[in-house]
């Protein structure tokens, strides 16, 4: 069934988009990740303009990360104080990110920027995860992360505006979680991904937060920043497609239900290796166009009214 997307100004198969949302939801249910890093590239591969893919994905992120946040809140696994400080930086990062996005779009370099960012972030994170999983099979605690935590964490603690976070049992400069939140906000607004894969390790290794609180707190940050990103993308860039978002969300809900059920089948290092491979595959696919020439070197864009 073909359905017209009012903002993307093109017709897509509704079944295809719901299936896409479903597959991403399924994978995120299995691996416990947001899946934004999969949706945005898949939408671009389906022929949607990158700007619409990113803008709309931020809307779908609100739904998926809010579900996670509320579940974690109910179980008491959210450090709200830490979350709010991170959000201070996160909201600022989102606004700055939208500005950068708009500028890149104006100069026609958004495709290139997304390609580079996806290769850098996904390639880096996927590679690190693969390495980490391989090492964790031999040794339980990664020496890489250990060394990072021992050497850098004390330095961050000397920054001004020290705050107490009783829930996490931490006393740390507000600049550190604020800075992490800022980077998270940039990722949400420029790349259309929650950035959990970056926030989670940063909160564990840089902040030294208890692992139990990390997932819920990072999801709180993602839910709020992606909400702001959605409104800003809609107003500044006009790139949020409500029909596309609704299709993705409904597919995602179905997929996640099945994925959570199936998550018992894949666990531990196996799951992490699978996820790392998936992330790397997306990085390669996104970067392919950058190195191998595009089928048509010409592209057409209409400047907004």
């Amino acid at each position: 069934m073909l359905i017209h997307l009012p903002i993307a100004e093109m017709s897509v198969s509704a079944v295809e988009i719901i299936a896409l949302g479903g597959v991403v939801g399924f994978l995120s249910g299995i691996f416990g990740v947001g899946g934004g890093f999969l949706t945005t590239p898949l939408l671009i591969f389906l022929g949607l303009p990158p700007a619409v893919a990113v803008g709309t994905q931020s809307c779908q992120l609100v739904a998926s990360s809010l579900t996670g946040t509320l579940v974690h809140l109910r179980r008491g696994n959210v450090d709200t104080r830490m979350g709010l400080v991170m959000l201070g930086g996160g909201l600022l990062g989102t606004v700055v990110g939208i500005g950068i996005f708009r500028m890149l779009q104006y100069f026609g370099q958004i495709d290139l920027a997304l390609g580079i960012l996806y290769i850098l972030f996904l390639g880096g994170v996927g590679g690190a995860m693969l390495l980490e999983s391989a090492m964790s099979l031999a040794r339980p605690r990664s020496p890489l992360a250990q060394a990072w935590g021992d050497n850098c964490r004390p330095r961050f603690h000397r920054l001004p505006w020290r705050m107490h976070f009783p829930r996490s049992r931490l006393a740390i400069s507000a600049l550190v979680p604020g800075g992490i939140g800022f980077v998270g906000g940039l990722l949400v607004s420029i790349m259309g991904i929650g950035g959990g894969f970056l926030l989670v390790p940063a909160m564990i290794y840089i902040l030294g937060m208890p692992t139990l609180l990390v997932a819920g707190t990072s999801l709180l940050q993602i839910a709020v920043t992606s909400g702001l990103a959605t409104v800003l993308h809609a107003t500044a860039n006009g790139t949020v497609d409500i029909v596309l978002a609704a299709l993705l969300v409904s597919g995602g809900i179905l997929g996640t239900r099945i994925g959570v059920g199936a998550s018992r089948l894949v666990t531990g290092a196996t799951a992490r290796v699978c996820l790392a491979m998936l992330i790397l595959a997306v990085a390669v696919a996104m970067g392919r166009d950058m190195f191998i020439g595009p089928t048509d070197p010409f592209s057409v864009a209409v400047r907004g009214v």
Binding site: H4, S11, V240, G293
Partner: protein, 240 residues
């Protein structure tokens, strides 16, 4: 259909009194009317159509053009920089119609760019510029927003005619100008303009208009929709 019929009737009888004086001045040598001033296009797959009726009061060839909303359009070209493909060159086409179609009376030709694709996109001198122009034409034609050639204009009688234009599902929303020109031996005898607005039917049309007019509210509604979905999902998850 009744409306079309009425328009035709009016066209047939109205100009009789004025024709003699008007034709001599070159003004009113040609008259057209659109079947409706507000076309609603089905974005699913059907699209829409508009019918144009006209009367001429002098012999000659006729062209009818539909010119969609004009917006600045940029064509970019990728090339290899440091091993990476990036947009390196571009051409800007100011006020380029987002939709264009035209019809010609039997026997009329498109000489001297008076009508047709060459009229809205004058072929540039340099082959470089021409490559960008060709890319734009290719892109628009693939989407049915620029015609391969003219549509046939049908004469109902010696001086009344009708043209039916199909509007593709992807035809952009906005104001469409309709222009008719009467020519003889390369000389313009008369011109007449009309217009209609194009809207999209159903939910998609509403969403689009709303997103343009109230972007803040539209963005908020998107967030509220996602919030409700996320909240609903969490209720199911917790209950389990």
């Amino acid at each position: 259909m009744w409306r079309c019929f009425l328009v035709l009737l009016v066209l047939l009888f109205l100009p009789m009194g004025t024709a003699a004086t008007a034709a001599t001045e070159g003004e009113g040598a040609l008259l057209i009317a659109v079947s409706t001033n507000h076309v609603r296009v089905d974005t699913g797959f059907k699209g829409g159509e508009i019918t144009i009726f006209g009367v001429k009061h002098a012999p000659g060839e006729i062209a009818v053009e539909i010119i969609g909303p004009q917006r600045t359009t940029i064509v970019r070209r990728k090339s290899r920089v440091l091993g990476v493909w990036a947009n390196t060159d571009s051409r800007t086409f100011k006020a380029f119609p987002q939709f264009y179609a035209y019809a010609l009376s039997p026997g009329a030709r498109e000489q001297n760019h008076w009508v047709g694709t060459d009229a809205i996109l004058i072929p540039p001198e340099s082959p470089e510029d021409r490559a960008f122009r060709d890319a734009l034409i290719r892109y628009k034609r693939e989407r049915g927003l620029l015609p391969e050639g003219p549509i046939r204009l049908t004469y109902l009688s010696a001086d009344t005619f009708v043209v039916r234009f199909a509007l593709p599902p992807d035809a952009p929303v906005g104001r469409y100008a309709v222009r008719a020109v009467l020519r003889r031996d390369g000389q313009k005898l008369g011109e007449f303009q009309d217009a209609f607005t194009l809207d999209h039917m159903g939910l998609a049309g509403m969403a689009r208009t709303f997103s343009r007019e109230q972007p803040w509210a539209y963005g908020l509604i998107c967030v509220i929709m996602a919030t409700l979905a996320g909240w609903g999902m969490s209720v199911i998850s917790i209950r389990r």
